[in-house]
Structure formats: C-alpha cells, structure tokens
C-alpha cells in the first residue's frame, strides 16, 4: 500500500526514475476518470463526456459491430446482503445501457451484449432478468441490440479460434463463442473491485468470462464441448487439473502449475492478446471490496463514486488500480497481488498495453482526486 503523496510522486516521476513503474514498449493510451455519485445521476452524460475526452466514439464505432462484455460473475441469485448484484459485484445496467446508447449514437451498426452466464447455456437475457435488470430497456438503447450468452455455442453454429499472438503463457489459442469474432469493436465493461485470485477485477480480468464453460468448464465434454454447461471453470482455468475439451487447443505446459494465482493472470493476459479490447469502461460507482462476489467471505460494500474509461485495457486497469489505492506495478506478495502474479504486468509483457502510470495521460479527475482506498 502506498500513500497519497507517493501516488503524486509516482504520477510526476520521470521515466527511468523507477524501473518497476515503467512499461517498456507497450502502447499507452489516455484514460478518463469522472465522478459519478450514484446511478441516479445522468450516467449517459458522464460517459459521453469521458468518451469525448478520449477522442470520441465515432471513429471507433461508426458502421461497426460492437460487442459489450458485461461482468455478471457468479449466479444472479447470489446476493451481498440482499442487495441487487449491480450495486455490488455486477456491472450496473445503467452503465451498460449508456455505453450502448452512446455507441448507437456514434453510428454503431449493431450492439451485442456478451457474457458467459454462470453455469448456463440459456439466453443471456434470462440471466439479466434474474439479476433484476430491465432487459427491454437495454434492448432499446440502440437501433439494433442483441444478446449472446458466450458460455456455449449460443446462437452460432461453431466456435471461433483466437490464437494468442507471440508467445502464449498458457494456451496457444482459445476457442470462443463466434459472437466474439463477429466483432469490430470489443468493449469490456467491468466493475471496480477486488478479486480473490487475481487481486483486482478490472477490464482485463472481466474477459476471463469470455471462456465458454462448454469447453473450459468443470463439466466440459472430454472430446467435444458440452452444450449444457452447469458449472464454473475451476478445474481447467484455476487449478489446471484437467484439459479443456479436445476440440480446443490444449494447455501448453499441462501439470506445470496448479496455482490459481499463477494460472488465471496468465490466461487473462493471453486473452487480452487473443481477443483485444478496444474500449474499457470500469464501473466504480458502487462496488465491493475484498473479493469479486458474495461467495467470498468478509466482503465490504464500497462507494468509490467513479467511472473510468480508456482505449487501452492495461492502461485503464493501471489507472483503476491506482484509484483503488494500489500500485499497478506491484509484484506478487504485495497488495493487491498478495498470492498471485500481476495480470497487468503480464499483459503488458504481451504488448497489450502499458501499466506505467508515468506514460498514461489521465483526463478528467486526477488519480489523487478519485482515490478511494480499497484497503486501509
């Protein structure tokens, strides 16, 4: 944990002053931070201003198919102290709806909400309804809005293969729902929160949910995908005690590590290369600290009251981690990466983006102004 003064120093540090704070050649990109006191505020106006600070959405979205990756981790039936999931560990539908609306206004041809609904191959809309979301409002956010549950084949006939560019950490390629291939612009809308395995759940870790449980789930078929998945991805993803379905490329070094803190950050970093993120939006209006969902003990409700957005996921997550009071370049053993490797640095090493705060142009609020310590 570092102090506010250290943050300011870090923000002002010249490149080279602290090697750990510097990303080598990975691209950096501006990140916007805005205050948003509650979901009753005009979230659309806040995001519109933020996207303008990033150069506007038109050049990104006009005439394009946009996939918006939602964060709906765990069963929608599980609640933190009875609160709606969007107020704790799910991204809030107002943030999603506003993003979709602004994409549509910027000329996007098609908006598709994507998420691997927990332990289900059913329609994504049903999981959203089970979370208490107004699906009809989301569907009306833009001229053409679709929903795809990427936990299995969904509405498609085959899986799409996404090779990891360069030298993959865990798998040479990932087989994902085809909706993730039929995408010109991929947006990760994440929650500002901790993660028991990865330290933080931000726009990069959100995309672990791109993995279909039909192939990477505990009950995935041995040879072919199980199109009725009913479990999570612990055995393949977290523990490495089984391979994915043989239809997909196997793990490169199977059996080499069963440490979730080693494995999951690397899979996430792989995915950042394989299925690049073009826009990251992080919902930090209301959230939880101490873990990613209600199954984690001792969760705390928090209200950072911020929205964060950026065109590079590593840079955006680095700023978000800093807003949470963490050093985004912290090494294993240091908060928040106490028992895991740093996903941001692994993604940075893949060339997905820079986690070097000294290279990131923060617009809107400063990190110091937005700072909300997730740990005292």
């Amino acid at each position: 944990m570092i102090t506010r003064r250290e943050w300011i120093a870090m923000m002002c540090a010249a490149p080279g002053a602290a090697p750990l704070l510097r990303g080598a050649a990975a691209p950096a990109s501006p990140v916007s931070i805005a205050r948003c006191a509650s979901y009753d505020e005009d979230v659309t106006a806040r995001l519109a201003a933020m996207f303008d600070q990033l150069g506007g959405l038109e050049r990104l979205a006009r005439g394009k198919t946009v996939a918006i990756k939602v964060n709906m981790t765990g069963s929608p039936g599980m609640r933190v102290r009875g609160k709606a999931p969007a107020l704790t560990h799910y991204t809030h539908p107002k943030v999603l709806g506003a993003t979709a609306y602004l994409m549509g206004r910027a000329g996007a041809r098609r908006i598709r909400f994507v998420e691997s609904a927990y332990a289900s191959a059913g329609p994504l809309e049903e999981s959203m309804l089970d979370a208490g979301w107004n699906v009809r409002q989301l569907a009306a956010a833009a001229p053409l809005v679709e929903f795809e549950n990427t936990n299995a084949l969904g509405k498609h006939k085959r899986y799409a293969r996404f090779p990891v560019p360069g030298s993959a950490y865990m798998y040479p390629a990932y087989d994902l729902n085809q909706a993730l291939e039929e995408t010109d612009v991929f947006v990760s809308v994440a929650k500002l929160k901790n993660h028991a395995t990865c330290g933080v759940t931000l726009s990069l870790k959100n995309c672990f949910g791109n993995l279909p449980a039909s192939i990477y789930g505990d009950d995935a078929g041995r040879d072919e995908p199980n199109e009725k998945p009913a479990s999570g991805r612990s055995l393949v993803g977290h523990q490495g005690t089984r391979q994915p379905s043989k239809s997909a490329p196997p793990e490169l070094h199977f059996g080499a590590s069963h440490d979730p803190g080693y494995r999951v950050p690397r899979i996430v970093a792989d995915l950042a290369g394989a299925r690049p993120i073009h826009l990251s939006v992080i919902d930090g209006v209301e959230s939880v600290a101490g873990g990613e969902g209600p199954w984690i003990g001792d969760l705390r409700l928090v209200q950072p009251r911020v929205l964060i957005a950026g065109l590079n996921p590593v840079s955006t997550d680095a700023v978000a981690a800093a807003v949470m009071g963490y050093n985004p370049r912290a090494m294993r053993g240091t908060a928040p990466f106490r028992a895991c490797d740093n996903t941001l640095l692994l993604a940075e090493a893949h060339g997905a983006g820079s986690a070097d705060l000294t290279r990131i142009d923060v617009r809107g609020l400063t990190i110091a102004q937005a700072l909300y310590r997730f740990e005292s």
Partner: protein, 457 residues
C-alpha cells in the same frame, strides 16, 4: 379433528375453515383489545382467566383450551369445557383412542387435533388438520452470503412448508394449521413473522400465530415498535382473509406431480419444494385422486412412485401419455416412503434419492414456461393458482430475505390481458402487460415481504 359444530347458541360462530388461530399468551380480558384490526378469531389458551373467556365469547371469538399429553386427558377436557371455553385442542402425541374419548365427552363442542404430520387424518372429513411439525420458514443462515459459502453457484435454499401444505390440501378440503412456534434462542424479526404467515397462506394454509415471549411482553406493555410489528402482522393476516376466493383456487400450470401426501408429501424440502424453489408451477395430484380430470390442462406428469400405483391409477397415466402428455417416472427401485418416525425433513441419503428425480424433472422441464416464469426471485417462493372458470390466475410471491426485492419479471401464458399487483397494505397497482417470448410479461418494481399478481382475461 373436529367433532361437531354449532355448540354455541346465541351467536353465529365462524365455520372452522374460517378460523384464524393464535396461541393467546395473555390471561386478562383487556388483552383482547389487541385483536382490533386483525382477523384473528380463534384463541388457543393454556392459562387464562374466566373473564378472558367471557369477554372472548362476547366478541364472537372461538376459544380452545390446549391440552397436552399426560394425565387424564378426558377429565382435563371435561374441566376445560366446564370453564366455558368453546372447545378443545389436543396437541401432541396421545394414546390411541384418546381423541375419540375426548370427542365423546365434548358433545357438540369442537375438538381439534394438532398432531405429528404422520398422524394427520388425511383424506378425512375433518374440517381442520393441524400439525405442530413445521419448519420455520426462511433462508438458512449459511445461505445468506456468509463466509461459509465456497463458490459462485446456485440460489439460496428456502425452508418452507408450502410443499407439505399443498400436498395435504390436494387430498381434501380441510383447513391446514401449522402450529409451530418461533425458534428458541433466535431473534425473530417482524419480517420472519410475516414470512411465517405468508408461507402458510400462499398455499392455503394458516400459521397458528405464536409470539415469542419477549415480543408478547413488549406488546402487552405497549411498546410502540412491538405494536407496529403487530399491526403489520394483523394486516398481512387480514390480506389473505379478505380473499377467501384464493383458498378455493387450485394450483395452475402444466406440470403435475403424482405423489402420495401420506408419504413424501409429508416432507418439507421434498420434491414439491425442490420444484417450488425453481418457481415452476406444479399441481400436486394424490394417487387417491388421480383421474383424467385431475390432469386436465397439464402436459407433463411426474410419477414419484410408479410401483405404488394401482392398476386404475396406472391406466390414467397411460391414457395421459397416449393423448400426448409426457410421463416422467421415478428411477428404477425408487420408493416414496413415509418419513421415518417424526422426521419431516430429508436425511442426506433421502435427499440424494430425491435429487435423482429432481435432476430428471429439471432436465425435462428445462427452461420451458409451464404456465408462469419468474425472474429475479432467488429469495422468493411463489404459488400459481387459477380460478375454476380459467378467467383469473393468481401468482403469490413471498420474499424470505431481510431486504425488499426490486425488479421482478413475470412471464405468463394464457392470454391474460389485465395484470394487477396487490399488496398487503391494500394498494392495487395496474401493471403494463407486454408481449414476451412466450406469452406475455409484466414487471414488478418492488416486493417487500409479500405481494400478489392477479391476471385476468
């Protein structure tokens, strides 16, 4: 069981099916003032004053002295009746023949039995079937999101008596009383009391209101927060009593469960509750009443114990299948048995056996809309009822969490065009009906403890 009616001359006693019972914890006549604003009209008494009984009679209330096993029960009943109470409640496990002897001595005075579940006179003409065996409704503490949870799976389990009540009511027209008391050693919040009332009422039963000692003391002392809680309880009781038509309705939906109420139907947490927690509308059909008419409107029938059916009963299911219905039978070798001893919940081994059936049902039903589908209801239970003319459907909702649930979606079949949300506070709100993938849908903004959706053609 009730011996006879019409024992009181000079005033018109409510019929036993209309009795709204409560274990009355106070002895003085003035305590009856607390009944203002509640529909409670039947008091179960243990210690009481003659003034209390006289005052109750003046108010048109039914008073039943509770007698527990031990000593000379017949003499105790005779003495109680001599003290002027309306009738007797025998609560507990009495020796065979005791109740008959008490009834013989009571003449025209009512004698109600509150028994273990496995001693209920199912299928009899008794107007009241009471049991002291019931689970305290709610979400077990470990399912509330505590550190004992280990993974991001599933919804909370809800302890409920709804399956038991529905099974019993499917085999007779008796009023079903659940006479369990608040759990000792726990803080019982107002919401928990409301849940106990609603849990019984949505399935047509009645919880015999019983206050924990602390609450009763505070209420008698005029504590304002206790009075507020009491008014809420009274309002909820009144909500269900103002709608006697709901008790006359039967379960709706396309799924029928053929199960003997005297066997697995006696359980809480059995197959009926497993289905209920998934909000799949299901009609319990006792084999004793298995006829083509009892399966009318259903498309799937689950036969819990195929080996126990008689030839005519088997023929009904065979004809049902021939006419296009789907019959799901229990796994080979499965027998639905009467719960051992006084148990009313499943042991681990029994749970595993029932899970086999449940998995089959779940696999068969999948995500089909079998009448009504509900969303964002993981802390709730529901019951879907239909009027005999098919023009009205009722969807009762009970929320077992300590927090209101917001944004519930209900999708329904049946061409209903008008939807009204009824709340215990008397409010009625017209909901907008919109087209859904299957049938129609409505959105409910908020459910505190209980609400009812009324659908009309």
């Amino acid at each position: 069981m009730l011996a006879a009616l019409g024992w009181v001359s000079g005033w018109c006693a409510p019929a036993p099916q209309a009795w709204v019972p409560m274990r009355w914890p106070w002895q003085d006549a003035r305590s009856l003032d607390l009944l203002a604003g509640t529909p409670i009209n039947c008091l179960l008494l243990e210690a009481y004053s003659p003034e209390l009984v006289a005052a109750a009679e003046k108010r048109g209330l039914v008073t039943l002295e509770r007698i527990a096993p031990g000593g000379d029960t017949v003499a105790a009943a005779r003495a109680a009746l001599a003290r002027g109470v309306s009738g007797i409640v025998l609560e507990g496990s009495f020796a065979e023949g005791t109740a008959a002897a008490v009834r013989a001595g009571a003449g025209s005075r009512p004698v109600v039995e509150i028994t273990a579940r496995n001693r209920l006179a199912l299928g009899s003409a008794a107007p009241v079937l009471g049991t002291w065996q019931a689970v305290w409704p709610g979400i077990p503490a470990q399912d509330h999101g505590s550190s004992r949870m280990t993974g991001p799976s599933g919804s909370a389990w809800i302890d409920t008596n709804t399956g038991f009540i529905r099974a019993v009511r499917a085999w007779g027209n008796a009023a079903v009383w659940l006479a369990n008391t608040p759990p000792a050693g726990e803080v019982v919040t107002t919401e928990r009391y409301l849940q106990a009332i609603a849990d019984a009422a949505i399935s047509g039963g009645r919880w015999v209101v019983a206050l924990d000692r602390g609450f009763a003391t505070r209420l008698a002392a005029g504590d304002e927060s206790a009075r507020v809680s009491w008014r809420r309880m009274g309002a909820l009781l009144d909500y269900f009593e103002r709608h006697p038509e709901w008790r006359a309705m039967r379960e709706a939906g396309k799924l029928a469960l053929v199960q003997d109420p005297a066997k697995g139907g006696l359980l809480s947490g059995g197959i009926l509750d497993m289905i209920a927690v998934k909000h799949t509308p299901v009609t319990p059909v006792p084999p004793q009443r298995l006829t083509p008419e009892s399966l009318a409107g259903t498309t799937v029938a689950v036969d819990v114990d195929a080996g126990a059916l008689t030839a005519p009963e088997e023929a009904v299911l065979r004809d049902f299948a021939r006419s296009g219905g789907t019959v799901l039978t229990s796994p080979t070798g499965f027998k639905d048995e009467r719960p051992p001893g006084d148990s009313i919940t499943l042991s681990k081994a029994e749970l595993d056996r029932f899970n086999d059936i449940w998995r089959d049902v779940n696999s068969l039903v999948g995500r089909q809309n079998l009448g009504v589908r509900l969303f964002n209801v993981s802390t709730m239970l529901s019951n879907v009822l239909a009027s005999a003319d098919g023009k009205t459907e009722i969807v009762h909702l009970v929320n077992y969490s300590d927090y209101p649930v917001e944004n519930v979606t209900v999708q329904f079949l049946g061409g209903y065009r008008r939807a009204t949300l009824l709340s215990p506070n008397g409010a009625e709100k017209t909901l907008r009906v919109y087209a859904a993938d299957e049938g129609s849908g409505v959105d409910i903004d908020r459910v505190a403890v209980c609400a009812t959706l009324r659908l009309e053609l």
